[in-house]
């Protein structure tokens, strides 16, 4: 029993079981059959090729956002401002496409420019949070939240203001011309380009964090910035760079949401992926590769649960219950594991 509780992987498995049990209880309270609920979720996520491409399509923004958070998590920072950074990426990307719409510039060039400018937008938004923290002493959680609101406000003022389609104001811009869309797989919303970029992102983050001096120094800063400084790491600069890198991924996420999937700029384009990525990153214990399956499961749950309303007259937010309880139980098991380990070690310093 002790071994089961102290091993990281078996403790995650226990947490998973507990989360499922807890969710079953919730489902039973709602007067539904848990097995049917999970069947619907499975069917809605991996039950058909169509469903699966939708999962992959939604996996792209989630994993990219998670990749970005790997940098700030490693540096010991909570980049709550991810949502706003994704929005700014989307705004910048859309702005560029809007500017070139109707010009002779080839679509591919415009898409590349849009993605690059989205990256810049996200990075700037993240850098602001980092600068506030470094020079203003504002905790990055509060800074991030603040900038999320500002990004929201900018977004709203654009889609209801100068960028609104003629005649209507429905919180969305006009749809992009087809030439500015990332190519999509026949008969689905999935863009293989976006998927490829996401996979490259995961590899890149893994290599940077595991194999480079930069990654190791960032980890040292996150674990103990005082010691790292005395060991010769310019801690403030590393924190700022981690924000910028995170912002780059956030901006990329936003830009791909515009050119690869939504093809419009609209309110809530970040889709909550920024917050969900925080959960994924936490569950993955800052391991980029581990976050790949976790993000898939999260997306599978959300996508699969969307059918609950039609099939079982249940609220599709049930997937949120599963995700949330998973995070909570993993954290609890983590706490249990640490307590047991501490007790085992005791203080053998006589």
């Amino acid at each position: 029993m002790r071994k089961l509780l102290t091993n990281r992987y078996s403790s995650i498995a226990i947490a998973l079981i507990l989360a499922i049990v807890f969710t079953c209880v919730v489902i039973l309270v709602m007067n539904a059959n848990p097995i049917r609920v999970f069947a619907v979720i499975m069917r809605g996520s991996v039950g058909s090729w169509d469903a699966f491409t939708q999962v992959l399509q939604a996996w792209v923004p989630l994993i990219l956002a998670t990749c970005g958070l790997m940098f700030t998590f490693t540096a010991g920072l909570w980049n709550i401002g991810m949502e706003g950074q994704i929005e700014m990426g989307a705004i910048f990307a859309y702005g560029v496409i809007r500017y070139f719409t109707g010009s002779d510039t080839p679509g591919a060039v415009v898409i590349i420019l849009a993605i690059l400018s989205g990256i810049v937008g996200g990075a700037i938004w993240a850098l602001l949070v980092g600068l506030l923290k470094n020079f203003g002493g504002v905790n990055e959680i509060f800074g991030g939240l603040g900038f999320n609101f500002i990004a929201d406000a900018i977004m709203l003022s654009l889609v209801y203001g100068p960028w609104k389609p003629e005649g209507v104001a429905n919180g969305s811009t006009r749809m992009l011309d087809r030439i500015y869309w990332l190519p999509q797989l026949e008969g689905s919303y999935l863009s293989l380009w976006a998927l490829g970029i996401a996979i490259i992102g995961v590899i890149l983050v893994t290599v940077i964090l595991k194999g480079t001096y930069f990654g190791l120094k960032l980890k040292a800063v996150g674990k103990n910035s005082k010691s790292s400084f005395l060991l010769g790491v310019p801690t403030n600069r590393y924190m700022l760079v981690s924000f910028i890198l995170c912002g780059i991924f956030a901006g990329l996420t936003g830009a791909l949401q515009v050119t690869g999937f939504n093809h419009v700029l609209r309110n809530n384009i970040s889709g909550g992926y920024g917050y969900m990525a925080l959960m994924v990153g936490m569950l993955a214990n800052i391991q980029p590769l581990l976050s790949v399956p976790i993000a898939l499961i999260f997306i599978g749950l959300s996508k699969g649960a969307s059918g609950l309303g039609i099939d079982l007259q249940l609220d599709s937010n049930l997937s949120g219950v599963i995700q949330g309880s998973l995070v909570i139980f993993v954290l609890i098991m983590d706490g249990v594991r640490k307590v047991i380990q501490r007790k085992g070690k005791g203080a053998a310093n006589g």
Binding site: L216, L230, G232, K345, G346
Partner: protein, 493 residues
Amino acid sequence: MDVELRNINKRFGKVKANDDISLTIKAGEVQGILGENGAGKSTLMKIFSGLYQADSGQIFINGKKVNISSPADSVRLGIGMLHQDPLDFPPMKVIDNLIIGSMVGTFPNRKKVLKEFTELQKQFNFSISPDAYIEKLTVGERQQLEIIRLLWLGAETLILDEPTTGISTSQKQQLFATVKKLSKQGKSVVFVSHKLEEVEELCTQVAVFRQGKNIGQMKPPFNTDKLVEMMFGKVISRSKKECCSQTKTNVEISDLKIDDARLPISGVNFIIQKGEVIGFAGMEGSGQAQILRALGGIIRPSGGHIYLHNKDHKKQDLVGKHYFYFKESGISFLPASRLEEGLVGGLDLQEHFILAEKQKGFFIDQKGNQELTEQRIRDFNIKGTAESKVEALSGGNQQRAELALLRQPLRLLLLEQPTRGLDIESTIYIWSKMKQRCKEGASVVFVSADLDEVIHYSDRIIVFFGGRVSKPLDANKVTVDQLGQLIGGKGWS
């Protein structure tokens, strides 16, 4: 009261912290417990005071078997433990701290407590104001308060765990007088220490622990060599003092000034020669930490100069430069709190060596660094592997790791409490490594609360008192008495 601990066993995982230990303490006895770090002293005392439960074994008080399963049990039985770090409430008043310990009734009778407190103080010549806040007291005073509190709660047996760490010489003398008085009153005292001299001075009998076992007892007159042999299993003699000091200036400190709200320091002048060891002596908080950190570039002086003397006889002033510039110039600082400022908990040894070495390229050469790490682990005799997380190492091995992390070439090595909490073997080893650096031309400046260490290892000693800084004194000529007076604030012109 008479206490008997019989066949106590306690394991932590694979480690046998207490291996069938038996110990008898008669009333009025001052029982010393000697042993290096990890010998099982603290574990036994924690079992005795109810913090840990023994795996097996019995405890008898006045011949009657007792069951101690919590600290409250031990207090009720008349056992009082003085912990290494005083257990008190810093933001509260002295008198309230006393009252907290004995929550009897709803409304505390302050007047009565105050009267009893004053009487106890008088007995032991303490002079702590009952209305003072704990955070304003020195470590020594907090210790005195704790002793009074334990006696007031009715302790008949007092356990003192390494009580002389961090207190001044005069407070130590006062503590010893108190212990002697307690023993005269018929109370028994358990004095846990790794300092031979103190145990020899104070104790009426000594038990030596090694690797969780009670190796043997000794009564005065004590045979020091025998005690050391019992502690370590082999005789370690401190290496003969060797001087590698050259008459070549390495660093020149001129008119250094530090603006510190509580302790302004000014007019500091001295020269650090190549290969020399300078010890900073003084009570904690007398300004030595500030000067050391200023020399390391960690705090910025408000005036004066720190000149590096280079080979071409040019002087270079470091004041105002960034910490990294100091580091690049070959100045390294090793803080006293190793896991807070020196090492990064959660990273393993290899990761530390990679961090400390000069960055080569963008990607880390894991294999090359593993070889380097294993080489350093062998060179510095660190008990651990490349994958050992630093927080899992013992204090001595952490300090070895810190020394192993230092880059070449080194010009000036600054250390805070380099051997605090280490056993004699590690201490000797660490100093041999530092002396090796001296032979290569580096200078060592260190702060230590252990006067013995300062005298033994320094070539010259600088004494600090309340922000005042003495001239460097020749360690071979100065006497303990002279130093003690300076540290205590006497003999300053």
